[in-house]
Symmetry: C2
Subunit: 345 residues, 2 copies
């Protein structure tokens, strides 16, 4: 383990208004892009079989030229609300965790309110926290409900194929990875405690191990702008892979210790799967059998903040996650930053 930082102690939440997950949703663009499509488009020396073997991905979705992130988010928001039989007007707040979003300013979540035709000016803002973003906004939603909200809609994911994907065709390590997807989760107030533990951390040791360098520094220095500035840089993928496994272990054990549960008490284990290998390594590390988990990386690729919730939604839609079951939900990402929860669905 590269890091020598201390992970902070897990704290009890002083909560008297409980939150529960009412519904989830996933929205992906229609266009399926195969490995062969990418190989042909960029004239790469690679084969579909080699790509599948190396990272586990078979295909991913790319949004068409006219689709905005806010279009996908508004669509998934409506599905999510409909599944819980909640009207947009009942919402107290929308929080969106983005990679780039529609614009830098204003928040894309405000555009979502507009597309939902909302007549009430409820609070909405975006946060920027990469693959772990959904853990941050889920933690936030619990606390907003504790302090007075009744319904909080949280949204994640992006059209990251346009930014995170390298346009430098020589970098065959990253060009296959990104896909477009967005997710929604509606949380509502509940009489019973569902979230048994919540934990978030950052580890700045890994700050330069996966990053998109565009920002105020680059604006100052650069005269020639191009798309590659918005590509995810990953100088050593193995270090990132190992840091995810280490963090998974540390966070999972803090959550288990805090709740007094063992890993065998967990019915469904959800985590961010930046590659199929990363997903499988986390299952092995925690001794979780495959049937208790899901990974759609092979189908959707790296969907950034949507990774873990896409897998949660899959467990719900497939009927493998039933009400009353105990879920461990983890997310790790660039920063490094991550966290997790144990909750009763």
């Amino acid at each position: 383990m590269l890091s020598t930082l201390n992970y902070p102690a897990i704290k009890s939440l002083t909560i008297d208004r409980y939150a529960r997950v009412l519904s989830t949703s996933v929205t992906v663009p229609e266009t399926v892009v195969t490995n062969d499509d990418i190989i042909k488009r960029y004239d790469l020396i690679a084969t579909d079989r080699a790509v599948q073997f190396a990272v586990g991905i078979k295909e991913r979705r790319y949004a068409d030229d006219h689709t905005l992130v806010s279009d996908l988010l508004a669509e998934t928001a409506l599905v999510c609300l409909d599944r819980a039989n909640v009207r947009p007007e009942q919402l107290d707040r929308i929080i969106y965790t983005k990679l780039m979003g529609d614009y830098i300013v204003p928040a894309t979540s405000i555009k979502v309110l507009q597309k939902l035709g909302m007549r009430s000016g409820i609070p909405a803002f975006d946060i920027a926290a990469a693959c772990s973003g959904f853990a941050h906004i889920l933690d936030m939603a619990i606390r907003y409900i504790d302090s007075g909200d009744d319904y909080v809609l949280i949204l994640g994911g992006d059209i990251s194929s346009r930014s995170a994907n390298t346009k430098n065709k020589k970098d065959t390590r990253t060009i296959f990875l990104s896909g477009d997807a967005v997710v929604g989760m509606l949380l509502g107030v509940s009489d019973e405690q569902h979230f048994l533990a919540s934990y978030l951390y950052t580890d700045n040791t890994y700050y330069e191990y996966s990053y998109i360098p565009f920002g105020t520094e680059m604006l100052n220095k650069t005269k020639a702008f191009d798309n590659t500035m918005f590509n995810m840089q990953m100088p050593d993928g193995m270090v990132v892979h190992e840091s995810v496994i280490d963090s998974c272990d540390i966070v999972a054990n803090k959550l288990l210790q805090h709740t007094g549960l063992s890993i065998d008490d967990i019915d469904v284990f959800i985590t961010s799967d930046q590659t199929t290998m990363t997903w499988e390594a986390q299952l092995r590390k925690m001794g979780v059998p495959r049937e208790k988990s899901a990974s759609l990386f092979h189908k959707y690729g790296n969907t950034v903040a949507a990774l873990a919730p896409v897998n949660l939604n899959e467990m719900i839609e497939s009927g493998r996650l039933q009400r009353g079951m105990t879920v461990m939900f983890l997310a790790h990402g660039a920063g490094a930053s991550g966290g997790g929860f144990i909750f009763t669905y």
Copy 2:
């Protein structure tokens, strides 16, 4: 008033662990840039006197080429902690409200942790919400403290001269406006209630009235990138000005009604001052005398999320805001998005 949206009702916070403001800080770059400096640099047809008359600005600060936002943020964080006699290791969380930040990913707040030499991996993330961002993260900090945190450091502002400022010299309406500044505010747990009311809203009617259009849409369409993509677009400044005044009135009255206070009970009135005219119009609208407020717009320009807290810090540093006094703190910005608080300092 252009908008026909309903502002949501103000809700009581169900809070049992109270927050208070322990300290504030402001950090600005050393380099002072006058109106004449900008007129000369861009060879503009304008005079210092005309600029001062039109928007009220005399000078602003620009960071030098080698300064990162995270440098300024780490500096202000240390000042803020020092003023409250709190060590970095005591912090539970850092939240930063950015315009662009150092990078798109990871969060700049994680870089701040690194620069503080933090040995503990506490949670940290960035939010993106323009000039109202500080209201969002202040509301968040109150709720994090309610649900268990002891110390939350919130940071705002950016090196926005590099992005928001137009590089198109013909647009003399916006080139004088932006300045660089960052702010910090440390909140801690308290036995007594200090925050009497909190209110946030968005108004998507104004979504296209002030924006920085760069995002996933532009990444797709654009072949030729340049600095101007990151410039603040404001098609009708008067509409924005009027929406700020309207929002100020609505939010202030909701806060007063909720607390049962009148505007005369407010000892210090703080708001975002996108121009001197905008500040003065808010004072007039609310019937607040100038001596109860502060505006440093003439000195620092539009510092985005730092606008309102820069003015709060000025009232504290000048001794005009004393412990026990009642503060109304408002912030409005692009989105539109905004909100406010009544708190006892």
